[in-house]
């Protein structure tokens, strides 16, 4: 059993997206039950018989149905998460009268798509038996059925396929061009920032702490070494700069720690673990560069800090998971 609820994101915006995805997916019931297990530890009969009281105002509820959950405040989101029965009502309202936002919502899961396609085969087959007694009508419909049976996806007309291919090419070109621009910006900003970095920074925390980078760091096992790395990375959360310049400096310092880690020899680790760590460090370094570029493009300090918070959390989770596997 996957514990869906433990994947809940930290930031409000991401939580909104996460919950919207569940409302349009086939696993809402699992999520509701898991949330109930955490918040409402009463017996199942009591829970079933209890009535979810909606404390979110009608106006806000209707706004969410029309425009999505991002209109809800963190307190209103909390109301949904702690009274998960409300999610059934919300899902029903979204399905039956959700606004344009929900109709064009991009959250689609592979499971729903797959089920929809699979079920069409049997539904299409059953239509041929619905025209009681009219064998001629049934044969007109039924002649299409083998076509679907042979091809397990819902048929599309050639026009549709062509339109989608053109769209895909356009999207691919735009994505490619955007990626190239972002990479260029990232490289330029990273180079500038590193130059500034060399001019001298107070950097006595995390992975760039002087004593930390010594190869003879005391760590009894590879697992303990990785745990120590995760603990050091958690130092990120000790400073919470609100000023963009200070945040840029802090990201730079963390980024510098990544460089040191990439170039370190890690004698405490076996070759596969060393390669894993260095590979991961490269990924994280790139993400930190992107966060810096985002800050320099004028994005809000709070948003970028949250982005880096997420990067660091994922990073430490990955290291600790590896450490647990080695233990």
């Amino acid at each position: 059993m996957a514990i869906e609820i433990l994947e809940i994101p930290d930031s409000h915006e991401e939580r909104v997206e996460w919950l919207e995805g569940h409302l349009l997916d086939v696993n809402l019931s699992t999520l509701v039950l898991q949330l109930a297990a955490v918040h409402q530890r009463n017996a199942k009969d009591q829970w079933l018989a209890s009535v979810a009281v909606q404390k979110i105002s009608d106006e806000q509820w209707n706004n969410a149905i029309e425009f999505g959950l991002s209109v809800l405040s963190p307190e209103e989101m909390k109301e949904l998460l702690t009274n998960p029965k409300l999610l059934y009502r919300l899902q029903e309202d979204v399905c039956t009268r959700g606004g344009e936002y929900w109709l064009s919502h991009s959250a689609r899961t592979a499971t729903v798509d797959q089920l929809s396609q699979q079920h069409w085969l049997s539904i299409a087959g059953s239509l041929a038996t619905q025209n009681d007694g009219d064998t001629h009508a049934n044969s007109i419909i039924a002649k299409d059925i083998p076509r679907h049976a042979r091809q397990p996806t819902i048929q599309q007309s050639p026009v549709q396929i062509q339109v989608r291919r053109v769209s895909f090419l356009k999207i691919a070109s735009v994505v490619f061009a955007s990626a190239a621009i972002v990479l260029l910006l990232v490289s330029l900003s990273a180079a500038l920032i590193r130059n500034r970095e060399l001019e001298g920074m107070a950097n006595n925390w995390g992975w760039q702490r002087d004593e930390f980078n010594s190869a003879d760091i005391v760590a009894v096992t590879p697992s303990a070494y990785l745990n120590q790395l995760a603990d050091e990375a958690d130092d990120w959360f000790l400073g919470r700069p609100n000023d963009p310049k200070e945040l840029a400096q802090r990201i730079n310092e963390f980024r510098h720690g990544c460089s040191l880690l990439i170039m370190a020899t890690h004698p405490q680790l076996d070759q596969p673990d060393r390669e894993w760590l260095v590979g991961k460090c490269r990924d994280w370094a790139l993400k930190l560069d992107q966060a810096l570029a985002s800050l320099e493009q004028g994005n809000s300090t709070e948003v970028v800090r949250e982005e880096v918070d997420t990067i660091v959390r994922k990073l430490t989770d990955a290291i600790r998971t590896r450490s647990s596997d080695l233990a």
Binding site: L24, L33, D45, A49, L81, S116, D234, D309, R320
Partner: protein
């Protein structure tokens, strides 16, 4: 029936109306029947995912396909006579709800709840809930085995609090809270995977 070109853009209400008309007029000729069938397929593509999400949280997993099929069969049969032509989506989900009610009535759920005393919404949930309750109980037991500090972090995160708020309230360093959540997650996953 006069043959019309079916638009691929279902976001447009007019295009959807045309498709629904084609389904409704399918008995006028052989050609109309073929067109009506194609129109039905497009309407299915437009709404089946949302309908599946709705049904999946209200019926048992092994009944989902049957119930989904019954809903679309009823739509195919009833549309020419019973659809008023105004709001197809609302009508589709009304039909779906009626199918669910019929299922519950006919199945006489073996469940420790007096269904006469609870509202339809809860009854509608219960087929699926019954299935999930076992795993919920397992998760509850695993949660009960967490250290109090870990449980507090898990609970707070699932109330939608972020780490900064949690740490201010619990007077914990963020790094500590983060570590506690990580270990709680690991412990819960292990506990649930091992069946305790």
């Amino acid at each position: 029936m006069k043959q019309t070109n079916i638009s691929d853009d279902l976001d447009c209400g007019e295009a959807e109306s045309r498709l629904l008309t084609e389904i409704a007029n399918r008995n006028e000729s052989d050609e109309a029947l073929a067109i009506g069938y194609q129109a039905f397929e497009k309407i299915y593509q437009q709404y089946s995912r949302r309908l599946l999400a709705f049904l999946a949280s209200r019926v048992r997993t092994n009944e989902l396909e049957d119930v989904h099929q019954i809903v679309w069969q009823r739509i195919w049969i009833a549309l020419p006579e019973k659809f008023d032509g105004k709001n197809f989506r609302a009508w589709l989900f009304r039909v779906a709800k009626n199918v669910l009610i019929d299922q519950y009535r006919s199945r006489k759920l073996e469940f420790a709840v007096d269904f006469a005393s609870v509202d339809l919404e809860i009854a509608a949930e219960s087929g699926r809930l019954e299935e999930d309750f076992e795993s919920q109980e397992l998760l509850s037991n695993c949660l009960a085995r967490l250290e109090e500090s870990m449980y507090q972090i898990v609970r707070s995160r699932l109330e939608g609090e972020d780490y900064v708020e949690i740490c201010e309230r619990l007077e914990l360093p963020i790094s500590r809270a983060h570590k506690l959540f990580f270990h709680a997650k690991e412990q819960l996953n292990r506990c649930v995977a091992g069946g305790m």
